[in-house]
């Protein structure tokens, strides 16, 4: 087996510095009110980060999937209101996989696949009809990468959103999740190479676990700071055993989520990682539930206000928990894999992961 790659520390440092500058509490709040954050997007795009892991020959920035996921972790950590996953490892990946040109602006994808869209092919052009809901940032996208199966062949169409009707909608965090109507929309399409509904689903889950790991960590850190600053009964509330419980639970879930997301990222960067991705999404989903509960409780009423930033993270986590597979979907997938191993194979699966399944 090849050695696991490491994250380029320069990526971490640069992305963290960038988001610290442009994504403060107010900027994130404004983005929610306005519906998009063009200046944050421009600052992000200028660094080339959106296209990490997309081949330079296809118009990407090169670099590893691991680095791309590290950027996503920091997007989650700073609640950056931009279509980073959609433009890069999801939409950018789909377009590049089918040999389409990577546009200069943001890209989005249909998160639930093209199940609600019908396509017919004529030469190199596809005609699409149907309606898709919860499409991230469709309102600001330059292209929608549509993965669909036509006559048993996985195809990727590169759709101009100006040809569609877009209804602006949001998720629980106020992030754009638009409804896109395709009414005989024509777009260039070509055959996919690696991309299919399954690989796309796993990539989506991988992107969300990285985002979620970042958001949980930030939430846990906010909670430690807040409870050490907040004085009641003459001392910081962090000194009370009942509050310490919440601090510890938040920190544990942050550690567990990050470990799971990073391990899945490393394995995906190396090759087959279906077990690790499934486990990471399930773990981050459940960690989101436990950590939001603990961190909100430790913050008291302050955490329930818009003026304090906790909600940027907790609301995103509640939304992301259901994107690209909730708890039930991934428990089911993992459960089938576990039961198929049988009693003797159960522990080797926990220690060996995907290498045992392949």
């Amino acid at each position: 087996m090849t050695e696991l790659a490491e994250v380029d520390p320069l990526v971490t440092e640069t992305a963290d510095r960038l988001f610290t500058q442009v994504c403060d509490h107010e900027a994130v709040q404004t983005a929610e009110a306005v519906g998009t954050a063009p200046e944050i997007w421009s600052a992000f795009a200028e660094t080339g980060f959106p296209w990490i892991s997309i081949d330079e020959t296809c118009g990407g920035s090169g670099g590893t999937l691991l680095d791309a996921l590290e950027v996503l972790r920091l997007v989650g950590y700073h609640a950056a209101p931009i279509p980073a996953a959609e433009t890069g490892i999801l939409g950018g990946w789909l377009l590049a996989d089918a040999g389409h040109e990577i546009p200069e602006g943001p890209v989005t994808v249909l998160p639930n696949g093209a199940t609600d869209v019908k396509g017919s092919l004529s030469g190199q052009e596809v005609t699409l009809t149907g309606t898709c809901i919860r499409v991230p940032w469709a309102r600001m996208a330059e292209r929608i990468a549509v993965l669909l199966e036509i006559d048993g062949q996985n195809m990727v169409a590169s759709v101009d959103p100006n040809d569609c009707v877009i209804h602006t909608m949001t998720n629980m965090a106020g992030e754009p999740r638009d409804t896109v109507c395709f009414d005989n929309v024509k777009a260039p399409a070509s055959s996919a190479s690696e991309a299919n509904p399954e690989t796309f689903r796993f990539r989506g889950a991988l992107s969300r676990s990285a985002l979620m790991a970042g958001a949980i960590e930030k939430m846990s850190q906010l909670t430690v700071t807040y409870t050490n600053d907040r004085v009641q009964f003459g001392r910081p509330v962090a000194r009370f055993q009942a509050v310490q419980q919440h601090l510890v639970w938040g920190a544990q879930e942050a550690a567990l989520a990050r470990m799971a997301a990073e391990t899945a990222a490393r394995e995906a960067n190396r090759g087959l990682a279906s077990f690790e991705i499934a486990a990471a999404k399930l773990i981050t989903n459940q960690a989101a539930a436990r950590a939001t509960k603990a961190c909100h409780q430790a913050h008291g009423a302050m955490g329930m206000t818009q003026e304090y930033p906790l909600h940027h993270y907790s609301r995103r986590l509640w939304a992301w928990r259901k994107e690209y597979g909730g708890d039930a979907e991934w428990s089911r997938w993992l459960g089938k894999a576990a039961v198929a191993q049988g009693a003797e194979g159960l522990y080797p699966l926990i220690t060996g992961g995907s290498s045992v399944l392949s």
Binding site: L247, G335, V339
Partner: protein, 383 residues
Amino acid sequence: MRFTPTELTNKELELQQQVREFLQEELPSGSHEPCLGMAARKDKAFSLKMAERGWVGMALPKEWGGSDRTAVDRFIVVEEMLRWGAPVGHHWVADRQTGNVILKFGTEEQRERFLPEICRGELGFSIGMSEPDSGSDLASVSTKAERTTDGWIVNGTKIWTSGAHENDWFVCLLRTSPMEDGNKHAGLSQILIDLKSPGLEISPIPFLDGSHHFNEVTFNEVFVPDINVVGDVGMGWHQNTTEMAYERGGPDRWLSPFSTVEQLLREAKGTDLEQTISDLFGELVARWWGIRNLSLSVARLIDTGEAPSIESSLVKEMGTRYEQEVVEKLVHLIDLEYSPDSDSLFERLLAQCVVTFPGNTIRGGTIEILRSVASKGLKGLPA
């Protein structure tokens, strides 16, 4: 605080394979009555066999009979033993902590006297911390050791002493000078006491299911020679705190219900139950995978010379709660009236888990104490 992902090297995977083959040969899967984690049966013959392979005291130096192996190597051996439900009770305490303490703080003479025997799997140790009036507030211990010409006279009582009725030696935290105002951590020492010493009395404190693990050990003018003091007189608290770091965050804190879960899958095979448990097994393997990765990264950190006490407290607190959660999920999902005398091994194990696992979040430091240790360490984090 940082848990860095790590993976086993090819050499470490070879060790894992060797341990699996050893266990398959000694205790063929499906044919032995598994133990539930570290509260395992004492089986000296088994401990001797493990020691022959170099798997007891393996992280101790070769000079003292050890194998100079890493914390990760020890993690691999312990992990495989526990998930198999192997009877590791005899050498458990010596292997996990006492060997380390003697190596780190003991005299040359003590190392020579105890370490080779520990590594041969011969010696069983008990730990003397709690007393009738000192539990979580451990620094308040009052069992006294008073100086005589060539040693110490010990008086007092230790409780919850696992295995004192079967073990050879007792590592005790004793008060060697009176409690000072404002500094209760001073004046404590760690002393090795022969469990066969005259004046030392051992009486059972039956466990809630009637089994015998716990004891009360009373000292009535027990003489202990000077050479049995571990480290410096008065440094017991510091040594004890260091020792606790060895016993936290390892596989013994999250693997206790594994053989029960594995046995369920074995018995469910081909029945309707297999479908019922499938989704739950998905959840269990995911969380076990995650916690294992955290725990493994703590072992890796120890090998770089760090003392990850916050990290290991976090893992222990989470791991032991998880052990209880697993049992609760099994009880919730499976409609069986399980009992300790059932024909089904799974039901017997589950009954044992239900009755004994409340202790998992208490032993070796309650989770409340762990939270207080860990949350103080979280304070320095950036935000």
